[in-house]
């Protein structure tokens, strides 16, 4: 087994995946959805702010109830399968996108779906904000209302940069998963996280699987992760809740 041929194999698989991506990218995709198609999506929220980073969040694949999801390619026949070149989004489409997402507003729980990376102001959406108006959606061009600091959607640790301290006290936050909502209570003493526990468990299943002192958060106060690989929503709900709580502690 020579290293030369191994490298060749490795490079060929990497090269193959890169070539595949370029091939698909070059072919473009058909934007088949109209504004009505967004029914099956929980729309991204837009943020404009002055902080160095920004996030968008979207949930894909919620297609069960929607008849509007069209396949990207027509039935299999000839080269008409080739997708049309990508069409850039028009401003009116953006507006339609935002306005068409009121059910997302109702369904959205605070914490999980709102994600800005650092201390940017963002609209907090609460469970009881079920009125189908877009006021809780932040439109593209306008600065968001400053209601509360944001919560990272998937980071396992607080949004503060390394070394930042928190205010003392007990802070509450919400996270959501497909199993329901979890409220976390985070106790901070002398600027450091002492504990993070489940305050309310509104999930379909017991929250007893949530360790009351997530080692990551408590042990490594000065270390933050940008992302966590392998995270699924159930664990994210509690992490989101803690992150949400910590936004109130800054």
């Amino acid at each position: 087994m020579s290293n030369g041929s191994n490298k060749k194999v490795a490079n060929s698989l990497v090269a193959l995946s890169s070539a595949a991506v370029l091939s698909v990218y070059g072919a473009g995709y058909v934007r088949t959805r109209a504004a009505a198609d967004r029914i099956d999506l929980q729309a991204a929220e837009r943020r404009s702010h002055t902080r160095p980073s920004r996030r968008e969040v979207e949930r894909t694949g919620q297609a069960s109830a929607s008849p509007n999801t069209a396949p990207a390619a027509p039935p299999i026949v000839a080269d008409s399968n080739l997708p049309a070149p990508a069409v850039a989004a028009s401003p009116s489409e953006h507006a339609a996108t935002i306005a068409a997402a009121p059910e997302h507003t109702a369904a959205a729980r605070p914490g999980a779906a709102t994600a800005t990376a650092h201390d940017a102001p963002t609209a907090q959406r609460r469970i009881d904000d079920s009125s189908p108006t877009p006021q809780t959606q932040t439109a593209d061009a306008t600065p968001p209302p400053v209601e509360a600091a944001p919560a990272p959607a998937v980071a396992s640790t607080p949004p503060a940069s390394e070394g930042a301290r928190y205010r003392d006290g007990t802070f509450f936050g919400w996270g959501t998963s497909r199993h329901g909502d979890i409220q976390a209570a985070v106790l901070i003493e002398e600027g450091r996280i002492v504990s993070a526990t489940v305050a309310q468990c509104l999930t379909r299943y017991s929250c007893s699987w949530i360790t009351p002192l997530p080692p990551r958060i408590v042990r490594d106060q000065g270390t933050t992760f940008d992302y966590v690989s392998g995270a699924t929503e159930s664990s994210d709900a509690f992490q989101d809740a803690v992150a949400d709580a910590l936004t109130h502690a800054q």
Binding site: G61, N81, Y227
Partner: protein, 289 residues
């Protein structure tokens, strides 16, 4: 895919809006082409044509072609025809939406990736025998890579699709991105972490969903036997593309800590496997943070 997708662009303001929108669009496009849970998808139409070359879209063609290559390299530990096993185990129900997929195909029990061929000249796919293709191990990675391409010009960005990550450039603190690896048993805990840039980090774990049909079975099946892969509880791969990391994480999970790490070393990517007794095994170049 039923996946929560997060896109982060460092340092960009509204000029990233259009690119981010296109990035999300790729997830929808890949889902539309590759989902098993909608009989109108291109994939579900493909599987009803047996024995004839079928012209495929770029997305479907490249996903299938790449899946076949990984199947070959992994000796069948990764196999897109694993769908026949998934159907039996109750994964015909979309785990987020609850929608069921009609059993449009009744594959023989001995089909494998060898029964699927592609033709690069005509961009066709031929199913020589009835197969139920499952592109779950490739499609999400492809979508991530396409989304990353949209954001390339911004250099510093991150994509998180349900725990499969791609990071480019540096984070907002001007450092390489830190990516924790979820502890396979303790929610909220992290078993290890890497400090990386311009790579994908993808994880296969036995905790992601249970089958609902067979007790104590998760959804990662060894295609060579039809049984649940059980020597690993989690496998993470760090590779230049998410497509590769995604597929190899599944392959490594099935192969287990010894053969899985050997495969990753042979293919020149990095990885970490957590065994069923919660030991960690990693490749020599694992970029530990």
């Amino acid at each position: 895919m039923g996946t929560l997708v997060t896109v982060e662009v460092v340092g960009a303001e509204t000029e990233a809006d259009a690119a981010i929108e296109r990035a999300f669009g790729w997830f929808r496009a890949v889902e539309d082409a590759c989902t098993r849970f909608d009989e109108r998808s291109e994939l579900m139409q493909l599987v009803t044509h047996v024995g004839v070359p079928v012209t495929a879209s770029a997305i479907l063609y490249e996903a299938v072609r790449f899946a076949l290559h990984v199947a070959h390299e992994s000796g069948g530990a990764f196999d897109p025809t694993v769908g026949r096993h998934l159907l039996r185990r109750g994964f015909d129900r979309h785990y987020k939406t609850g929608a069921t997929v009609a059993a449009v195909v009744d594959p023989p029990s001995d089909v494998s990736y060898r029964d699927v061929h592609v033709n690069a000249d005509y961009r066709t796919i031929t199913l020589h025998r009835p197969v139920l293709l499952d592109l779950g191990g490739v499609a999400k990675g492809l979508a991530i890579d396409l989304a990353a391409r949209e954001l390339q010009s911004f250099t510093n960005f991150g994509i998180d699709a349900g725990g499969d990550i791609y990071v480019g450039g540096h984070n907002a603190d001007a450092q390489e991105w830190s990516v924790g690896i979820r502890h396979p048993r303790t929610p909220g805990a992290v078993v290890d972490a890497v400090r990386v840039s311009n790579v994908a980090v993808c994880t296969s774990g036995d905790y992601e969903r249970d089958s609902g049909t067979l007790a104590d079975e998760h959804h990662i099946v060894d295609p060579r036997t039809g049984n649940t892969a059980s020597s690993a509880v989690s496998a993470t791969v760090v590779a230049p593309t998410a497509m590769l990391a995604d597929a190899l994480a599944t392959a490594a999970f099935v192969l287990g800590p010894t053969d899985g790490i050997a495969l990753l070393e042979r293919l020149g990517v990095e990885g970490l496997i957590v065994t069923s007794d919660l030991q960690q095994v990693e490749t020599a170049g694992w970029p530990r943070a």
